[in-house]
């Protein structure tokens, strides 16, 4: 029953993922947005759900990745595809000292500290006139055309890149969690003090996860703004777009659950498609849904389904 459901679900996902290949520009755009959001949610789930690192400032690296890509393309004349990995590397490098500094703040204070860092990046970007100040900058048309002259083809390329990144990130996180490293992380999630007393270097693990997620978050940001062609400080470092939505997705899907980000993304995009037209009411509904989920069903939809399965088939649940 459970296996069959998983297979049907997996197949329908594959069909959905194939739609943008044959679809129009709008479907490709939606597909790449979905893939990028799934990547961000998977990374945030790794941070908060496994490493116990709660950041509300991941927009720092979405924006930084985007700006590094634009700067390398505009000032160094680099082809955008070559600039993508460099944007990720820059985010990882910046995250190393930034993480060391922010981890001086404990638990909930770390969370606000990450927000301060993102604000520092946003306000700094707005002050640099070479980056266009508060109004931002655009990619030169030549570097866009170098990818492809046809817009549908470009969108298809971007979709494939985003989908590959989402798949690679999900696979990397899954492999990571099964490794010795992941065992340490899971131990931190379940009982931080006990993990520390058994020899897990909690702070070092948290720092490594913070740096890795920063690099991949930066890569996602670079991709997002590459297809957007324009970048500005408020859009690049938006807490609502890159962190609030992602947190809601992970909470609704199931925090600390491998399938949580994917299920959360599906619910989020459906909810958005149905209600985004209601503006502020839509955001109130989304925030309210996340609050209700945290209070009533803290394991999210995935946790709820798992528990329901266990009730229906107690013999298969094992010990």
């Amino acid at each position: 029953m459970r296996d069959r459901a998983a297979i049907v679900f997996g197949l329908s996902l594959l069909v959905c993922a194939a739609i943008p290949l044959f679809g129009d520009n709008g479907e490709r755009q939606l597909g790449l947005e979905f893939a990028a959001t799934l990547t961000l949610a998977t990374l945030w789930n790794l941070l908060a759900g496994y490493a116990g690192v709660i950041s509300i400032g991941q927009q720092a690296y979405v924006g930084l990745g985007g700006y590094v890509l634009f700067a390398l393309t505009v000032f160094a004349g680099m082809p955008v595809l070559a600039a993508l990995p460099l944007a990720a590397a820059a985010c990882g490098l910046i995250a190393m000292p930034a993480g060391r500094l922010l981890f001086r703040l404990r638990g909930p204070h770390f969370a606000i500290g990450t927000w301060v860092l993102a604000e520092v990046f946003r306000l700094s970007a707005a002050q640099v006139s070479a980056l266009g100040g508060g109004s931002g900058m655009s990619l030169p048309i030549m570097s866009i055309l170098a990818i492809s002259h046809s817009r549908p083809q470009r969108l298809l390329d971007f979709y494939l890149l985003s989908a590959a990144l989402a798949l690679a990130t999900s696979a990397a996180v899954a492999v990571l969690l099964r490794s010795r490293f992941g065992l340490g992380l899971t131990a931190i999630r379940d009982a931080e003090a006990a993990a520390a007393s058994l020899g897990v270097d909690v702070m070092a693990l948290k720092w490594i996860v913070y740096v890795i997620t920063a690099a991949l978050t930066g890569l996602t940001g670079a991709l997002l703004f590459l297809q957007n062609v324009r970048i500005s400080p408020d859009a690049a470092f938006s807490v609502n777009d890159w962190t609030a939505n992602v947190i809601f997705i992970v909470v609704i899907g199931g925090i600390g659950r491998p399938a949580g980000p994917l299920i959360g993304c599906l619910v989020f995009f459906a909810f958005r498609a149905a209600f985004a037209g209601y503006g502020a009411w839509y955001l109130i509904g989304l925030g309210g849904l996340a609050i209700a989920m945290m209070l009533l069903q803290p394991q999210g939809i995935v946790g709820f389904v798992e528990a329901a399965w266990r009730r229906r088939a107690p013999a298969r649940a094992g010990v």
């Binding site: 609030a244 947190i247 009411w281 996340a290």
Partner: protein, 288 residues
């Protein structure tokens, strides 16, 4: 020379606002280890409550404090009993995520009720009166009054926490939430009282801020960050340190603003990060 002194004095004066932003945040963290990510939005909610009263009745904005502060306290108590108490525990994630969701809900609720426009409470000439200390050095009476009020609020809270039975219960709950229940004290009620106090100070801060600078539904997070920075600069758990932390943050911002108005907020954030680097426990850590 007078110019430099003037920048420092203006910065110190603004510190009163930041100390008021920080006090409510620090209080509930001290009592129940809860960081309310919606605290800045609660402050803005207080300002909008006053704006609503002024629009409806035409009353002088400062008088709104009489109504806004108890209303906010009641709201805080109810929120703690109905929602936040259920999130408390060893895991720091639920309270953070629930208050983050609350922040989005408050911001968008205010957006629906009042639009995204920037607002200001019509305080009249109250906010522009100043006394001249030296030629070229004027001290605004309004921010000076706010600074004194912030000191009074902090002094009053210290008196409450250390001299009254309820305050002792609050500190006891903070020190040992299990043992305190053996003394017949209901934690849930004590936590409710703490949040009521936090919201009351936030409401007061909101009205005072609303008459001095502009505010909009989106202004909450910035207030949260300023209050948070004042707490960490001053040293966690030290309310007088928080007042000084607010003043230091104000001075950093004033120096930034003097270089370029665009650097005002940025300079405050950078000063915060620099102090975190140099003195991780803050400048005035509480003695163990």
């Amino acid at each position: 020379m007078i110019g430099a002194l003037d920048i420092v004095v203006q910065g110190l004066l603004v510190g009163g606002f930041y100390a008021l932003f920080a006090t409510g945040l620090s209080l509930i963290f001290g009592v129940m280890r809860l960081v309310n990510l919606a605290h800045g939005d609660v402050i803005v909610l207080g300002a909008f409550a006053a704006l609503f009263l002024v629009q409806q009745t035409g009353v002088q904005p400062l008088l709104c404090v009489v109504l806004v502060v108890p209303l906010m306290a009641g709201l805080g108590y109810l929120l703690q009993r109905a929602i936040l108490n259920r999130t408390l525990g060893a895991n720091i994630l639920p309270p953070l995520l629930v208050t983050f969701g609350l922040s989005i809900v408050i911001q968008n609720g205010l957006l629906l009720g009042f639009s995204a426009d920037s607002q200001k409470l019509p305080m009249g000439h109250l906010t522009i009166v100043s006394v001249s200390l030296l030629p070229g050095l004027n001290v605004g009476l309004y921010p000076l009054g706010v600074l004194i009020l912030a000191a009074l609020v902090i002094g009053g809270l210290q008196m409450f926490l250390y001299r009254t039975a309820l305050g002792t219960a609050l500190r006891g709950t903070s020190d040992d939430p299990v043992t305190i229940r053996l003394m017949g004290i209901d934690n849930r009620h004590i936590f409710g009282i703490a949040t009521a106090l936090s919201f009351a100070v936030a409401g007061l801060a909101g009205v005072l801020m609303g008459g001095y600078g502009n505010f909009s539904p989106a202004a909450g997070p910035q207030n949260l960050l300023f209050g948070f920075e004042a707490i960490i600069i001053g040293g966690l758990g030290n309310l007088w340190g928080t007042l000084l932390g607010g003043m230091i943050l104000g001075v950093a911002q004033a120096i930034g603003a003097d270089i370029d108005p665009g650097y005002q907020v940025l300079a405050g954030h950078i000063a915060f990060l620099a102090i975190l680097l140099a003195a991780p426990r803050g400048l005035f850590p509480r003695m163990a």
